[in-house]
Amino acid sequence: MNFQHRHVLGIKQFNATELNFILDTAESFKEINTRKIKKVPTLRGKTIINLFFEASTRTRTSFEIAGKRLSADTVNISGSSSSVVKGETLEDTARNIEAMHPDIIVMRHGASGAADYLAKRMSCAVVNAGDGTHEHPSQALLDSFTIRQHKGKIAGLKVAIVGDITHSRVVRSNIDCLNKLGADVWLSGPKTMLPPGIERLGCKLAPSLAAAITDADVVMMLRIQRERQGKTLIPSLREYSRYFGLNEFNLKLARPDAIVMHPGPMNRGVEISSAVADGPQNVILDQVENGVAVRMALLYLAAGGENLVED
């Protein structure tokens, strides 16, 4: 396969063959993470800048470890410790970073479309680590990778995604990714957290949590953003938990071999009960583990595309 992408901005830019190619590449890198010496020289001499304007532990650490295991030099810049707080614009920050000749910039930003904006203005490769409520391609890919690992396939599976659909970039990337790979995607959440017209992305709206998870092969729970929308869009966390929380009782509606996923960080007792989060069907830590392999694949492909023209 000929992979012809300079940047990784969203799932939108890839077709099914390319998505499978990324997952296969990640499969090759997965083995390195279990070695005694967890390092290969693939990206030796490359500089990767992790530019995180929004708080993130998992994704940033995962990208940093991925870069380091490929022998790249990784530098982290977070929004709160940079000149952004002094009023510098994104474009100026980016230009200054570019002047130091990085090969890849991995960026998380609160504004939807920030990664595309940056990619158009930079000569290095840009990898989107989450932009506003738009896309989070590496999360969707690691989710698909984890589903494939446990189910052996993605096509034909029923995947239920439950929670705050409106504010989730993870959902948008996942719907697109899972659709392209042939899954049957069902959504459920409070009406206040379901954007009108979301079905046009190619998923089905379930009338209730029960309808969404009945006979599901995969149940993906989303985080209620307690610090933000959680306060005004739902009457109370207890009520949310009662109608949209996953527990050991309603999980019985799903197929007996269903897997439970969560992109983290979890609110135990809100969207997911501890019994399920720690139960035999959870693959939440597999998701984190696979995240490193998937991000190694993305960095490798972004670095390998340096001779390509712009997308």
Binding site: S28, R35, V40, L43, A303
Partner: protein, 177 residues
Amino acid sequence: MAIETTEILDRSSVQRALTRIAHEILEHNKGTENLVLIGIRTGGDYLAAQLQKIIAEIEGDKVPLGTIDITMYRDDLGSRSDLAMGQTDIRFPLGDRKVILVDDVLFTGRTIRAAMDALIDLGRPRNIQLAILVDRGHRELPIRPDYIGRNLPTARNEQIEVEFNDQHIPVGVSLIK
């Protein structure tokens, strides 16, 4: 320009060459103790499997078999259009083993350099020996094979192709001009 294909080795010549290599490996290592076979993807892994079979027929011992993918260790990332990557599959420790590294064609030696780096990242073998079906010359690194199926002087622009059937059994070697 017309493409001209000349058959260098047929199926039975390849088998004879591999049988001889198997005997040489056993002679040189005085048996199969601590011996492991590692084939380089793709081509070398199939030949390594053949050698494992032949050695088992001779000695009655099944030597551990692994495959290695060297894409991560290549020195030409960025000048390649194909970024596909295979998987390394070695399910035994390499520490103190005598490793027979197997590849189909030896050319510049860069693949072997990468494979040796990859092996050493996985453990510390006692030694690494190199078995090659066809040595076509044009080395760019100080690398020499220990076991050679056939020496074949070639021009730089020629190509050597080792063909395998669906069962991954080598059926011939051709020179393409």
